[in-house]
């Protein structure tokens, strides 16, 4: 028991002490040697954090679409895997919208959506913004409540009323601190009364700020602003996650039937399922994270070679010391352990500083980018174990070389 304790704990600990002393004596060189590992680990940690942060942000945006959402875009043909781009052809009419609402089961809410951009003028201020036309159900479909005032009503839709709900950023730009409710905003010289203000939602999937918009009844936008007869998007909320697939199939069948699409032809619309989007996004960001990590790992490898190089120099420089230690009875294994621990200490030192540096870098990136990198525990643990492994791997050859020196040759070495 005692000898085992000595062999496994005490002796390595004492050896680590010697190694630390040796490293401290050459502090500058130790730091420079560890620099390779520091940079390597820092870039791995930072890159993985950036990848994770980007993924979290995009996933957040996907979640921000609302729960159990299907998005139906007109016109895009998914032929031979090439996506011609959504909304490139106008093919979903208001009659289609009503048919879906009437005939598809398990729909919890539905809102057509049209949009355009325009100059909005209020209280002498001028602001270019997005004009969305939706149904009152839109706010429940997208889980996007109004912060103050109220959403416009079904009646406003039927009468194509000149009312608007304002996004928080637009409200800020046009009215500043003034309460926008009841105020008038002019679009194309038409006055609209503001009935409500949406809660803040942040950047959308395309990176645009979703809070910078004016939301009007879709009828108002179509009749008074754009003159369009078709919708650009159907937001459909399904009652529960397990009904998504059947609902999607029903909508598809219904639209194909209404559009009289021949059986052999592809859809002239495109249905996006929130889950699919999330999965697609996850796989893309996963690949990006992996690539960033792989590039960063290269610098870890270079760092490891740096350690090997310095350890080889160190063994040569300290040949006499090795000879002295052997003369007083150090076994080869003790010398091996000493140099191995020195290498591992160096690489762990580099690992620690690297993790700190990586966290700092991630933090700094978070300051300038519009998302927050996420340093995860497993990337830190991975970085540590990899740097430890690098120490052992690249330290082994020099350490073995030291341990196999002949005591006499080592003592005589000049």
């Amino acid at each position: 028991m005692i000898p085992l304790l000595q062999a496994l704990v005490l002796r390595p600990l004492l050896t680590a002490m010697i190694a630390l002393r040796a490293l401290r004596r050459n502090a500058l060189r130790s730091i420079l040697t560890a620099l390779g590992i520091i940079i390597g680990v820092a870039s791995v940690v930072a890159m993985v954090a950036v990848g994770n942060g980007a993924r979290d942000k995009i996933q957040g945006e996907v979640a921000a679409l609302g729960q159990n959402i299907l998005l139906v875009f007109p016109g895009s043909k998914r032929s031979a895997g090439v996506n011609a781009g959504m909304g490139t052809a106008a093919s979903i009419t208001l009659q289609d919208t009503e048919a879906v609402r009437r005939e598809v089961r398990d729909i919890a809410g539905l809102s057509p959506e049209v949009w355009t951009s325009a100059q909005a003028i209020a209280s002498g201020r001028n602001w270019s913004t997005t004009i969305s036309g939706v149904d009152p159900e839109y706010i429940s479909v997208r889980d996007w409540p109004v912060a103050r005032g109220a959403m416009f009503t079904e009646r406003d839709v039927r009468s194509a009323a000149k009312v608007a709900v304002i996004g928080s950023k637009t409200a800020n730009e046009l009215f500043g601190a003034i309460n926008p409710i009841g105020q008038t905003v002019r679009i194309n010289n038409i006055p609209f009364i503001i009935t409500g203000q949406l809660s803040s939602k942040g950047a959308g999937l395309g990176g645009d700020n979703q809070d910078d918009r004016l939301v009007l009844p879709y009828t108002t936008v179509m009749k008074r602003l754009t003159g369009e007869k078709t919708v650009k998007l159907l937001n459909i909320k399904i009652t529960s996650a397990d009904r998504m697939e059947t609902a999607q199939a029903q909508i598809r069948a219904l639209l194909r039937q209404r559009h009289r699409t021949p059986a052999a032809d592809p859809d002239d619309f495109n249905i996006l399922n929130q889950k699919e989007i999330a999965e697609k996004v996850a796989s893309i960001t996963g690949i990006i994270t992996l690539m960033l990590g792989a590039i960063a790992s290269m610098s870890l490898l270079v760092g490891g070679i740096g350690i090997m190089n310095i350890m080889l120099v160190s063994v040569t420089e300290r040949t006499r010391e090795i000879g002295i230690r052997m003369a007083v009875g150090a076994q080869g294994s003790a010398i091996l352990l000493q140099f191995l621990i020195e290498a591992v200490t160096l690489s762990l030192l580099g690992g620690t500083l690297g993790v700190l540096g990586g966290m700092g870098t991630a933090h700094a990136i978070g300051k300038v980018a519009n998302f927050q990198p996420v340093v995860t525990a497993d990337s830190v643990i991975l970085a540590f174990s990899v740097s430890c492994a690098i120490g052992i791997f690249f330290g082994f050859y020099p350490a073995r070389k030291a341990s196999q020196l002949d005591p006499i040759d080592a003592l005589r070495y000049e």
Binding site: I2, P3, Q6, R11, L14, G323, A330, Q331
Partner: protein, 256 residues
């Protein structure tokens, strides 16, 4: 009579450098008993250091046998030799061979670091301090070698050789780099150690240094050519007193 601590039987060491064989030690047969104090002398290149390295288990003989304390050295592994050096032998070198950026105390602790089983750190420190006290360096524990004189460095080396209580101390020209007075001090120290029962074998070029020992072995061309007890043995105390006197006389004689 107990068996000799060192038994050399036609021991030889040949260095093979390229095509030429150098017979550094040709054939040495020598017995050294416990408690002996042996000086090995001889001209440069006669094979003294080579023989010492073999005695110290740092090198192996290429022919003949070497028994240390009854153990046949040629049958031992590298590992066993290291253990042997650690527990039975102490080395003192001409160039001290101390770890340069390490304190006196840590240098002396070094052999205990490789001792098995490990002693408690506190008793290691204590023993190292005792050894340094024994060589008269109790007040230099935390000095590094480059902050000490040659004589003081050699004392550290001797303390290091003693700390694991070896049976045999091997010294290769321990006074080679020291002045007369310091050499006398070091030899005095060896005489004390020898009186306490430690066997000492040392190499020296100087006859007056050798005459502090009890037995003189002279080598030439890798062979022992003479092996005699010291006739007029010097004692360090007397020599020191004589030196003091001589110096006093010299300073009296010199013109003011």
């Amino acid at each position: 009579m107990s068996s000799p601590i060192i038994q050399l039987d036609r021991t030889a060491r040949v260095y093979r450098t390229g095509d030429v064989d150098v017979h550094a030690v040709r054939s040495v047969s020598l017995n050294i008993q416990r408690g002996e104090f042996v000086a090995i002398m001889g001209s440069s290149g006669s094979g003294k250091s080579t023989l010492m390295n073999i005695l110290g288990c740092l090198d192996r003989a290429t022919a003949g046998a070497y028994h240390l304390d009854g153990v046949n050295i040629s049958s031992l592994t590298r590992r066993q030799l290291a253990t042997l050096r650690n527990r039975k032998l102490g080395f003192v070198f001409q160039n001290f061979n101390l770890l340069s950026r390490t304190t006196a105390l840590e240098n002396v602790e070094l052999p205990m670091f490789y001792r098995k089983p490990l002693m408690a750190l506190r008793s290691q420190r204590q023993r190292a301090m005792q050894a340094l006290e024994r060589v008269g360096l109790a007040d230099r524990l935390h000095h590094r070698p480059n902050q000490l004189s040659g004589g003081q460095q050699q004392r550290i080396a001797i303390a290091r050789a003693l700390v694991n209580e070896p049976e045999l101390v091997l010294a290769d020209e321990p006074t080679g780099n020291l002045d007369t007075r310091t050499s006398i001090d070091i030899m005095g120290l060896f005489q004390e150690l020898n009186d306490s029962g430690i066997t000492i074998v040392m190499v020296t070029h100087e006859l007056d240094i050798a005459s502090y020992c009890k037995r003189m072995v002279i080598m030439r061309d890798g062979n022992v050519i003479s092996d005699t007890p010291t006739t007029h043995r010097r004692m360090a105390d007397e020599e020191r007193a004589r030196l003091n006197e001589a110096e006093r006389d010299a300073s009296l004689d010199s013109p003011p």
